[in-house]
Symmetry: C2
Subunit: 189 residues, 2 copies
DNA sequence: TTTCTAGTAGACCGATCGGTCTACACTGCC
DNA sequence: GGCAGTGTAGACCGATCGGTCTACTAGAAA
């Protein structure tokens, strides 16, 4: 594979940024060619299924990283408050302190790809479930409350990202990060 | 104007639904023609500035209605808790219990139109300001806390709409409505 | 009745869309 | 060195994109 101009990683990183910023419909093949430096035939060679396969691959990759690099922190041994703090920090970084949009939001406006939709749904539910499990197991919240709080935490983050994008104000997003402990843990823990 | 096949109201309602559901890039002129029943020349006759002018007109109209039919409820005389309850009910209805996406989110992924961007920013800020004013004047919260709570309330609503769209779960949105009193009012009021 | 304006229609335009195909170059293996 | 597989390139395709222009119709006002 010495023939490759750009590694798979590089290409996927570029694609991720594009889909995050422009969404599915706003990310054209022309834009992708310009941003990756690869011509269409190269892109189709790597992603036989075309634009949809790029989106699916990006979604899988990001969801995987989110789960393994970020949400997995919640399950590590050690102080729950510290774990949550670290997760919050990772979240802040992942979303560029609120500057980067969420693929779950930006990739699901176009509904033509059941593959993308299903992955987005699964990733979102996994995220919420991870928070709920933490809130119950480590945060000491009763099951039903843990789930509601998990949903609210994710909702606040997603909403904060929307507000950030529309108005440039990142305070709601950052506050949603800071509020994770009081949402996912019982007072005094 | 007896020649009109469809009233301005009808056309704008249709456009609103399209932009809400598909966003700007996903709403093509073909889609608009099919949905409105008007051909392109008719649409261009009514909206000289084309697709962008449609989006701007929709945004202005919805923002105006939101302000006058919904947010203005917050300023009426009478019991603050009752006013807030009514506002929440209007919000629930406006977003179809969470089934309908928010134009602020869906129309701002495409950034080519400064006119749309500016209007979305202004509408969002007006919304937050209205909540903050209510929280301060009627909810008895100190100014800085009132603003933060207003932002959080809007953030929760917007995030709830994203979650609803991605996963079909409307509980976070509905809970955000129900949480308006505890967010925007001091306990005991 | 005539004129003017509003509104709709059909045809057309250049640009861009996502996708396809053939050809060539490079690399690694036998 | 030859072959197969990987990867990039250029040209091309039909469809769709947003937009434009000419023509016709309907309705209101003079």
């Amino acid at each position: 594979m010495g023939l490759q101009k750009f590694s798979e990683n590089e290409v996927l990183n570029t694609l991720t940024g594009l889909f995050r910023h422009h969404g599915y419909d706003g990310t054209s093949l022309s834009l992708i060619m310009k941003a990756t430096g690869l011509v269409k035939a190269s892109l189709y060679h790597r992603f036989r299924g075309g634009k949809e396969e790029m989106a699916v691959t990006v979604m899988d990759r990001v969801a995987g990283e989110f789960a393994s690099d970020l949400l997995a922190l919640l399950n590590e041994p050690g102080d729950p408050a510290e774990r949550l703090r670290k997760t919050g920090e990772r979240l802040r970084k992942f979303y560029g302190s609120g500057k980067k949009a969420c693929l779950l939001d930006t990739l699901t406006l176009n509904r033509d790809s059941p593959a993308v939709q299903a992955r987005a749904k699964a990733a979102l539910e996994f995220w919420i479930d991870s928070f709920a499990r933490f809130a119950e197991d480590s945060g000491g919240l009763p099951r039903v409350l843990a789930m509601a709080r998990a949903q609210d935490a994710v909702s606040a983050l997603e909403g904060g990202l929307v507000i950030s994008r529309v108005s440039g104000n990142r305070a709601p997003f950052l506050r949603a990060i800071e509020s994770l402990p009081e949402r996912l843990m019982r007072p005094g823990r």
